[in-house]
């Protein structure tokens, strides 16, 4: 009779098991050995996969008879202390839930592919693209390189201004640009969107030095002058925002100023055909301080895509 009752209970348990399993997502929480309890998280206790107390043959480092506690290290502190009384005193403690950094940059590579558009040259548009690779020495400081290639399109504004005012405006083509950079992340944070999702972001500033290859477009004397590209030293200052989609992919928007001293076409044409074809007469005296301000937008990939936190013990 008792066997029959036990059998009925076991059968009821077997019938009930599929009901419990139906609400579980695939491949997630496995039933514990009892096969029955919902997962209960007690934040005051250690994780389930860690032993609550060390094995008997392992020396404890948490105080008590095994030693290692504060009273063993500095016994004078514990003398004449009523620990029961101390334990009962009221506490007014502010507790903070501190989240791990969502997208750790420390010792990761950032590969950034972007499109670019120059902003401040109204006469020649320079759309293009580029790639940057950064290595994060710390979580906020990176060293890297980037390179840009440019297209060139003379604007209608240039044509109209020249036609209306009868003046030749010196204009320049860009070919490529390469830099060694340092970048720094002074600010980061997160936003809740529509109260529904959270995304993380950071602001960064960047500075570097490199070279930009440019040449004048012959406007004053196009019949005789054909310029070749020539690299010039440039300096880079910029800043941008990164918006993380996940821990390894982010959208990046940046504005950078590539500063260099450009050589422009000579607005004067020397008398005589031979002199006009003399290359030494083609460029204007001195150099022109030029700011090539460009907007860059693209995607950043952080490698390796995963990492392990080193938690304080």
């Amino acid at each position: 009779m008792r066997k029959a009752r036990v059998g009925l209970l076991v059968a009821a348990a077997l019938i009930a098991v599929p009901l419990a399993a139906s609400a579980q997502p695939k491949g997630t929480a496995k039933p514990d050995k009892a096969g029955t309890q919902p997962k209960e998280v007690n934040l005051d206790e250690p994780a389930a996969d860690q032993p609550a107390t060390p094995p008997d043959d392992t020396p404890s480092d948490t105080g008590g008879d095994q030693g290692g506690g504060i009273c063993d290290i500095t016994p004078e502190v514990c003398q004449n202390q009523d620990f029961d009384k101390l334990a009962q005193r009221p506490l007014n403690v502010e507790m903070y839930a501190v989240q791990q950094i969502y997208a750790l940059r420390y010792h990761r590579f950032e590969v950034n592919a972007y499109g670019l558009q120059t902003l401040n040259d109204q006469f020649v548009s320079h759309p293009g693209g580029g790639v940057a690779v950064n290595w994060y020495i710390s979580n906020v400081l990176a060293v890297g390189v980037n390179g840009n290639v440019y297209g060139n399109a003379v604007s209608s504004f240039n044509f109209q201004t020249s036609r209306s005012a009868r003046v030749g405006l010196p204009i320049t083509e860009y070919q490529w640009n390469a830099n060694v950079n340092f970048s720094y992340v002074p600010a980061y944070g997160k936003f809740a969107g529509f109260g529904d999702f959270i995304f993380h972001y950071d602001f960064y500033v960047i500075g570097g030095v490199g070279a930009i290859s440019t040449r004048p477009i012959a406007v004053v004397d196009p019949d005789n002058r054909v310029f070749e590209f020539e690299p010039k030293i440039n300096f880079r200052l910029g800043g941008g925002i990164r918006i993380f989609f996940n821990r390894w992919l982010a959208a990046v928007l940046e504005v950078s100023d590539y500063i260099f001293f450009d050589k422009l076409e000579n607005p004067q044409i020397p008398a005589g055909f031979a002199e006009a074809q003399n290359k030494d007469t083609w460029l204007a005296e001195g150099t022109s301080f030029t700011n090539n301000v460009q907007a860059q937008g693209g995607l950043s990939f952080f490698l390796p895509p995963t990492w392990e936190y080193r938690l304080p013990k």
Partner: protein, 316 residues
Amino acid sequence: MGTFLSRLPRFRSSRARTLVAAAAATVAVVSASTADAQEILLTGPLAGAPAVRKLRLHREGRIELAPTVSFTLLDEYQRHIIPGLRVTYHPLDWLGFGVWGGYGFGIQTNLADELQKVGIEDRRCADNPSSIGCFLTEVNLTRAGNNPPGDPARTGTLGGDQLGAMTWFVAPEVTAVPFRGKIALFASVFADADIAFFAGPAFVGLRERKACGGTDDNGAARPACADSFSLTDRVAIAPTFGLRLNFYATDFVGFGAEFRGFPFSWNTAGFDNHGTGQDNAFPDQKVDGADSEFKFNTAMSVYATIAIPTKIKTTE
């Protein structure tokens, strides 16, 4: 569980122990079938706590006053610095209604300065009126002299006689704040922050070169453009929109930055660029509406914010 049961004398019988264990397992499984699989039961100090406590509602039910300074971007001939004020009331924390207004001060760009020097001063057209440079630019570049009766005398400067400028702005706008969060600066200074989007109509006061050449809408002849270089005012109505990044330093004081677009057509140079030929792509010796070009005008603003009342609401 077995260890616990074995400590109790009345459960020392193995059959009874088996029976009770099976019953307990059954009850546990049946009760589990009614529980939500996503629910995590917390028993620590955060048990039962809401996701966010004491959420600061920086905007709800408050009027936000924001003195602004705006700088137009990518200007061709004149930059504008626009001191102004924005007043916004937020009936909800994510929704506000307000108005922005400002007065524009024009500053010539380097291009305008170069044209002034090369195209006007160096040519000395008063002394060489028949030179080809002066003859071909007499419609487009001013030079000192008199205008037709009723108009002020020419100054001989581009900025005084022909360059377009934006003089004032009034823009009612609706503001939505879909993103709110925090920012950490140097990992030591923390502030609430949000991203707001806004849109509305903009009324922009424009000062442009007065129409000349040809006839007006009533058929009356206008003065020839070579003889007329003066400015007149009109109002352009355009959409305006953009986004703001707000930072809240205290409960009622903050600061931020804004990007604003306000596209419309206008004649920035006072040139005769259009009016005849295919697609009106060639000059017609007249300066009128056909010479206006569509520009995506943009401005960057920085501002401080003061919220009234100064006491902030918080959630529970």
